[in-house]
């Protein structure tokens, strides 16, 4: 295992690349903020999870934007990404159409899944994106996408994401073993946000870093501390290159931060560090760094944010103005062929 430290002193990235990373993070955060707002807007006074424009469980990714931005910067839309119950940041960074993403979350016929899937079940053939609400069970399908890419002799890869809690699930183990055995072009990402709902990492495993598990399969493992988008970008560069060149999978654990509750409505009474969480928000920190490095001005940064908000507003507007599905069509799409 290699531990990569926060302190990547001088950036090896171009100005353009660094701006892109910030832009992606702003876009994600703006999206999550908009969903947060609309999710809670019409559940009052008696807060009802099933009520309102956006019903159901809602797992937002605020704080984990560096992971998505840093990794997906290396991907094209021909690469596959499989994500978790907390999928928006990966979906957006991977280039999913924002309108159709928003429409799915609002349960509209124009959504990615025509409202059948919802926020934990996003499937996008255009970006080879999928996710699963079942812990660690997004890993195995990624193997098959990677296998198809390998067999067709492309250099396309699959990125498979889970949380640190998921690393204790059987599917995690089986998937890593299989990918290493067959040198599948996969990058396994563990987003370690210290918590699996209310259970801290230390109550889930006796080991300090899941990257140590890579050796159990014969693949390299890297843990990236500090939730720093550039350090993540650098680690991902290696892992992606390894996968593309046919040298097989890498396990990348990234220490990140869950800024908000596990899901919306989570009061987080179990979380001792709650009062100081906001101090570690990675976006203002990165923005300040770029400004300090002269990559952009405060005004440029504000413009990036505004641009993101505008794009998100348009997507939310698209979603809200889209038709809801017809109840009569509830049984459509069970099978391709008649049943």
């Amino acid at each position: 295992m290699t531990v990569q430290d926060t302190a990547v002193s001088a950036s090896s990235l171009t100005v353009q690349e660094r701006r892109e990373l910030l832009r992606t993070m702003h876009l994600i955060r703006s999206f999550e903020e908009a969903i947060l707002r609309d999710y809670h807007a019409d559940k009052a006074p008696a807060w009802d999870i099933g009520a309102g424009l956006i019903p159901g469980e809602m797992h937002l990714s605020a704080g984990q934007e560096p992971v998505a931005a840093g990794i997906c910067a290396h991907l094209t839309r021909d690469d596959a990404v499989t994500a978790t119950h907390r999928p928006h940041h990966m979906a957006i960074a991977h280039g999913m159409d924002l309108d159709r993403l928003a429409a799915e979350i609002f349960g509209r016929e124009t959504g990615l899944g025509k409202g059948r899937g919802g926020h934990m079940h996003l499937f996008d053939p255009d970006t080879h994106f999928s996710c699963s609400g079942i812990i660690a069970e997004g890993y195995p399908p990624a193997l098959g996408q990677a296998f198809a890419f390998q067999r067709r002799q492309t250099d396309r890869i699959a990125v498979a994401v889970t949380g640190e809690g998921a690393a204790n699930q059987g599917a995690f183990h089986e998937s890593l073993n299989l990918a290493a055995l067959w040198k599948l072009p996969v990058v396994f990402v563990v987003e370690d946000n210290d918590w699996g709902i209310s259970v801290p990492r230390a109550a889930s495993t006796a080991i300090a870093s899941n990257a140590d598990r890579a050796a159990a399969y014969g693949m390299p493992g890297i843990r990236v501390e500090g939730n720093d988008v550039e350090a993540i970008h650098a680690a991902a560069a290696e892992a992606v290159a390894r996968a593309r060149s046919g040298d097989g999978p890498t396990l990348l654990e990234i220490h990140t931060l869950r800024l908000w509750g596990h899901f919306e409505g989570d009061a987080q009474g179990y979380r001792p560090e709650l009062s100081t969480v906001n101090e570690h928000d990675p976006i203002p920190a990165y923005q300040a760094r770029l400004v300090a490095d002269g990559v952009l001005s405060d005004e440029d940064a504000a413009a990036l944010k505004e641009e993101a908000v505008a794009r998100v507003d348009a997507a939310i507007g698209f979603a809200k103005n889209s038709p809801t599905p017809q109840p009569e069509e509830a049984l459509r799409y069970v099978f391709v062929e008649g049943a």
Binding site: G50, P55, E57, G107, G196, I197, S198, Y270
Partner: protein, 366 residues
Amino acid sequence: MTATAVNPSGQTPAEEQRAAAAPSSFPVEPDPGTRRLNTAKAIQEAIGSQMEQNPEVFVMGEDVGAYGGIFSSTTGLLDRFGAQRVIDTPISETAFIGMGIGAAVEGMRPVVELMFVDFFGVCMDQIYNHMAKIHYESGGNVRVPMVLMTATGGGYSDGAQHSQSLWGTFAHLPGMKVVVPSNPYDAKGLMTAAIASDDPVVYMFHKGVMGLPWMAKNKRSIGAVPEEDYLVPIGKARVARAGTDVTIVTLSLSVHHSLDVAEQLAGEGISVEVLDLRSVVPLDREAIVASAAKTGRVIVVDEDYQSFGLSGEIAATLLESPDARGAAFSRVCVPDVPIPYARELEYAVLPTHARIEAAVRAAVGA
């Protein structure tokens, strides 16, 4: 080779005696009294009381400790009993459910929570090939007195992987009892019975009957619950409302919708009997047949998938009974489709008030 007559209870007289004797220390279905609790609190109370009386009872599962269970099934237990007996687990259902089995084999009485029944696919082998079969495979020499508690059901747009009922799946596989309370009183009595049972019991609570503050509440999710311990016998249905024109055989949250419909249609002179199964295994076939024989019309209202499950088994029960085989039969279930996310679609497939009402009207020709 000759056709083998099999003893349907599968018990010797000695065993039947022991079974009848076992948990008799608690009263059976006492008067409910006046104290009112929601279903979640009733469950917590049953578990807590059994933990107090028996040091071998413990609770294990994801977020059952400080969080108190995602659906509040274990709220307060950590504070009362400590982390040694109320154990938060990693997200490793196969390991910790299997651990419950091993502990039960050694005589402990674990109450293990599988957070959503929808997750059974990651751990079903421990449940159905081990928990449910060890007693039989051991020729009765090894018991697995374990409760597997799990949340079921939809209605709040949680999508295809978090909204299922699936009691039919568990009931189809032999060796585990399956109980499905619909209200606080039964929830406490069935949990007490489940912990007292020497057999593995799958205890399935619908999120919508818990009376959670953050979910649309049915008025019957709060009700009278005795303070003392008591049993609701596993395998006994309850006539939730007596009627003469048509029988609704149902369970879990659908009991409430059915009662709502029955109350509404009573005004029109349609008399609906509502039978709350309470247990799926054992299934109270006698109660089903008795009610069907009385009303001559049966509607199964079931939030599980329609085909190859509970509703079909009730049809077979009718057809196999000389008294009930002529009864009219229809069903209001979730059709064979993954539960859709969008509210309009989900409520098109759920057994709603409207669908139940339509089925009753169709049955009585009104």
